[in-house]
């Protein structure tokens, strides 16, 4: 050890019992006694809870009284308490980056049962840290200023709530929605569980509030196409697709729709799940926000062939809002943080052909039935089958595309309650016998169990069993003209055949089909199932690993409306807090290029997952933007001439640590 270089190194080692968590498996006293014998160690102690105030005080007193200049804490994971001990050191006047944690809980006591071996392992790990901390250098956290503007991507209930919350705090918000209107899936729902509030009644005021809010710039029919920069200053480019109607001139009188050359609507209405038709010029639904019509270039004769009477243009001649020459435009904005609320898609039940969706007209998805029971839906609220009959018996199949090894393994969380709600509404609308086929009923949530009891009392039949198939093959006259659910009722032990007029598939929630593109565009992570990854599943469920980017709603994982709203509010609060702080502190464990050593071979540049490295054409050297660098170390490992260094992970630190941990083998 080169004493000249680092001055006199005085190390304190602190071994935590973590109550019984560590001390039961690791002989913490023996570890502390061993640590005291290591070169450079001035003091080594064990203590019941190092993270407690007295525990931290112990470290601080030693720093002051024994002139410690290095601290090793053998306790839990640094992701839990590294900041705790860095803070303690800092309060005692020591640069916080002279602290090194050793994880003898998750990496040792929790995964071993042999006390002797676990104790030896703890000693090895402590020795590695002692050798490493010797080479630590004082580091400073850098601050970057934060733009107060916030971008919200996605205009469903999550995006709407987040945008309103941020806007109400006085910050400017850009809300970008891909569809012609905001509202998302919630706008398609009829009632909401468990209170049976009308979804539109509670949602549309919030939609109007977005449109009217002076702090919100609403861009519908628009998509984010590029994201550059980093926390505090993201440069975002938004593509605004042409709707062929000028948003600033259209007042939503809808006369153009009436006069369209198509007398009858003949194109599938996306909002009503194809259960009704619309014209090429249309408005998705009466409360669409903004209330601006849109022309579908795929079905409009003028846009397809250029040969149309253009009667819509005549109807709007005074306002002149219709503009067939509209082109896509691009807006560039700078925002300090981004909230991603891009939602979900529902499972396509054609992937489970045994349920006959797409084959039997009277098999529906829950989302289609939401539209059927809705007063402004395709049937005006009449629950009638596709062949025009009022069903006398309806079966709702749960977990279609959820909790299934063959499709999606996760629970979609909303299907049980949605099905209870629809059972209630169908019964209310038709008086039909309703069967719910379930694996487990999951009614966890405020008022949910009570609602379940209510539907039970209403006489809905609950059949516990996974439906094997839906068939139209009648075995006896009672099944003629009906669909038959073949199911093992696991409560009674019988295989049953239940004739039904209508089958509803409670389809699960899935990541959007382009979620991977969104993930790459914003540089965030994704869990195995394709939903966006939060920074911590319990303590940071809206932040992501990319600073200044937050996620809200089902794009993060299946959840119901209240949970979505809570997460959206939380994401908004994080964005507001960031903007109000005015700056962001960067972890100093970043990589940097030693310019005079760099050969300009560019090997590092394409490897950076955060696009933090660029090539300085003038100097012919690579350059790392430390604001963008997350300290992953990829470039450091790959630099063929060793000219990239990383704070806290310099070669001598890492090699000493490795030598330390392997020293037992010598």
């Amino acid at each position: 050890m080169s004493e000249q270089k680092n001055g006199e190194v005085r190390i304190g080692v602190y071994v935590c019992h973590c109550g019984a968590n560590i001390a039961d498996t690791v002989d913490v006293k023996a570890v502390a006694e061993y640590a005291a014998t290591l070169p450079g160690v001035v003091v080594a102690r064990d203590y019941k809870y190092m993270c407690s105030d007295p525990g931290q005080e112990l470290v601080q007193e030693d720093i002051r009284n024994l002139s410690l200049n290095r601290v090793v804490v053998a306790a839990c994971s640094p992701s839990l308490h590294e900041n705790t001990f860095r803070g303690a050191a800092e309060r005692a006047g020591l640069n916080p980056f002279f602290v090194q944690m050793v994880n003898i809980r998750e990496h040792d006591s929790w995964v071993h049962s042999d006390r002797e071996a676990a104790t030896e392992k703890a000693k090895d790990l402590v020795r590695a840290a002692v050798r490493r901390v010797y080479f630590h250098k004082p580091l400073e956290k850098r601050r970057v200023p934060i733009h107060s503007e916030v971008l919200v991507v996605g205009g469903g209930i999550a995006g709407i709530h987040a945008a309103l919350t941020v806007a109400n705090s006085g910050k400017k918000v850009y809300l970008v929605e891909r569809e012609p209107t905001i509202g998302g899936h919630m706008a398609q729902y009829d009632k909401t569980f468990p209170t049976l509030d009308c979804a539109a009644c509670i949602l549309t005021p919030k939609m109007s509030a977005v449109k009217a809010h002076p702090n919100i710039t609403l861009w519908t029919y628009s998509e984010v196409v590029s994201v550059d920069g980093s926390v505090g200053d993201y440069k975002v480019v938004v593509k605004r697709k042409p709707r062929y109607v000028r948003e600033d001139l259209c007042v939503g009188c809808l006369q153009c729709i009436d006069t369209c050359v198509f007398k009858e609507p003949k194109f599938d209405d996306e909002f009503n799940m194809g259960l009704s038709k619309r014209k090429p010029i249309y408005i998705p639904f009466p409360q669409a926000t903004p209330k601006v019509v849109v022309i579908d270039p795929e079905s409009c004769i003028q846009l397809k062939t250029g040969k149309c009477k253009k009667s819509c243009l005549e109807a709007c001649v005074e306002r002149g809002a219709i503009d067939f020459d509209q082109k896509e435009t691009y807006e560039e904005i700078h925002v300090g943080s981004i909230i991603i609320a891009t939602g979900f898609q529902t499972f396509d039940p054609r992937r489970m052909p045994q349920y006959g969706y797409g084959k039997y007209p009277n098999v529906y998805t829950t989302l289609e039935v939401e539209r059927l029971v809705n007063a402004s839906g395709p049937t005006g609220g009449q629950v009638v089958t596709r062949d025009g009959r009022v069903p006398k018996s309806v079966g709702i199949i749960l977990c279609v595309g959820s909790r299934d090894e063959n499709t999606n393994r996760w629970c979609s969380r909303v299907c049980c309650m949605t099905s209870l709600k629809l059972a209630h509404l169908i019964k209310e609308h038709t008086g039909a016998e309703v069967f719910i086929f379930y694996i487990d009923m999951r009614a966890a949530g405020k008022g949910y169990e009570e609602f379940y009891q209510r539907v039970l009392n209403e006489g809905v039949h609950f059949v516990r069993g996974r439906v094997a198939e839906i068939t139209d093959w009648a075995l006896d006259p009672s099944e003629e003209g009906k669909l038959v659910a073949r199911v093992e009722d696991t409560n009674t032990g019988f295989v049953r055949r239940i004739p039904l007029d209508m089958v509803v598939l409670a389809v699960g929630l899935e990541p959007q089909p382009d979620a991977l593109n969104v993930q790459r565009l914003f540089g965030i992570g994704c869990s195995m199932d394709g939903f966006f990854l939060e920074k911590h599943p319990k303590l940071a469920p809206a932040p992501t690993y990319t600073d200044g980017i937050f996620i809200a709603g089902v794009c993060h994982g299946p959840k119901d409306i209240p949970d979505t709203v809570m997460q959206a509010g939380y994401a908004a609060a994080e964005a507001i807090a960031l903007a109000d702080t005015g700056y962001f502190e960067l972890e100093p464990n970043t990589a940097y290029i030693v310019e005079e050593e760099c050969s300009g071979c560019k090997s590092c540049i394409p490897l950076c997952p955060y696009q933090a490295i660029s090539f300085n054409e003038e100097k012919k050297k690579a350059f790392i933007n430390e604001v963008l660098c997350k300290g992953c170390g990829t470039c450091v490992a790959a630099c063929p001439s060793g000219s990239i260094k990383q704070n806290l992970f310099e070669d001598e630190e890492i090699f000493s640590e490795i030598e330390g941990v392997l020293a037992y083998a010598q």
Partner: protein
């Protein structure tokens, strides 16, 4: 007139190319010979080991040893010259990082001896006779040096003051080194007497290296027509330039051959081969394991490619053959 400073040259396990490079000084050698006394140089001058043993310790200003250390005799000479010299210089790749001979560290002593004296197709040795360190011949004891289990760089045997890299070092670097020694203005001990940036820095093809190599295929130089103006890596030809110290003036590149890494790594790198591997592997343009495998199959003899001159000094040093 005071004595001129004394200089010595010696060779261990080497090919002789380093000796040639000294002669390559051409007429400059006269300048050197004028400034110094060459007291020991087995290739060119008739001095013996006993002459060196007779010199006072530390009486030689500088000794340049080329070649790596494989035998007991080479060890002994390294110790001896270390003792007699104020400055010991590892001259050339073999002394510096083990060189080509250290590729033999992939095999055990037994494997090597068996192949060379028994199994090689050109060998006829029915009695399976192998050289022995001690042998009686007509009543006379004859001896051979011991053949050690590993090839080592010079600094793995004795303390080394400076290194002149290259296979072989260029006359220009040698001349500079001698002038530096004579000036008395010595760099810190352990310095490699060549620039400390990678070769790309001086490469005439630097401009043509793309940011993202996206390697779809590795080609060996003799399999392909090499474009004389484009970065070798951009052509799928492995070039050690990014991981190799400069100072050779890109001579191979100018001869339309890729860098093979003889100048060794920069001072910041402990393992030249691992570094270029880490960098090149990241540039393979495939995602699926089998596609990656297919591209990597184009690298024939990875150890001989990436560790051609540096296996002895790498983190691995040798293959465990026990």
């Amino acid at each position: 007139m005071p004595d001129k400073p004394k200089i010595a040259f010696y060779w261990c396990a080497s090919c002789g190319g380093c000796e040639e490079s000294i002669v390559d000084l051409a007429e400059d050698i006269l300048e050197v010979a004028q400034a110094v006394d060459i007291v020991f140089w087995p290739v060119a001058m008739d001095f013996k080991r006993k002459d060196v043993e007779a010199m006072p310790d530390g009486s030689i200003l500088a000794t340049m040893v080329n070649g790596s250390i494989r035998t007991s005799e080479q060890e002994e000479m390294a110790y001896l010259l270390r003792r007699k010299s104020q400055i010991l210089i590892a001259y050339g790749s073999c002394a510096h990082t083990g060189g080509v001979p250290s590729l033999a560290n992939q095999f055990s002593r037994e494997q090597i001896l068996r192949y060379v004296y028994e199994d090689a197709p050109t060998v006829v040795n029915e009695q399976r006779v192998r050289p022995q360190p001690r042998h009686q011949h007509n009543g006379t004891a004859v001896s051979l040096p011991e053949f050690r289990g590993l090839v080592r760089s010079l600094d793995q045997v004795v303390e080394v003051d400076y290194y002149l890299p290259g296979c072989p070092p260029t006359p220009k670097l040698l001349k500079q080194a001698v002038l530096t020694l004579l000036s008395g203005n010595l760099p810190p001990k352990g310095t490699v007497l060549a620039p400390d940036t990678a070769l790309c820095d001086q490469c005439p093809r630097k401009e043509t290296k793309p940011t993202d190599l996206k390697i779809n295929e590795f080609k060996r130089p003799h399999w392909t027509q090499i474009d004389p103006n484009t970065c070798f890596l951009a052509q799928g030809i492995i070039c050690m330039g990014p991981a190799t110290r400069s100072g050779c003036e890109a001579q191979c590149i100018s001869g339309n051959m890729p860098c093979t890494g003889c100048f060794g790594p920069t001072s910041r790198v402990r393992d030249q081969g691992a570094k270029i591997l880490s960098s090149l592997a990241s540039s393979v343009n495939a995602r699926e394991p089998e596609d990656i495998e297919k591209i990597l199959d184009g690298i024939v003899d990875p150890v001989g490619t990436f560790y051609r001159y540096s296996l002895a000094k790498s983190l691995l040093r040798a293959k465990v053959t026990r």
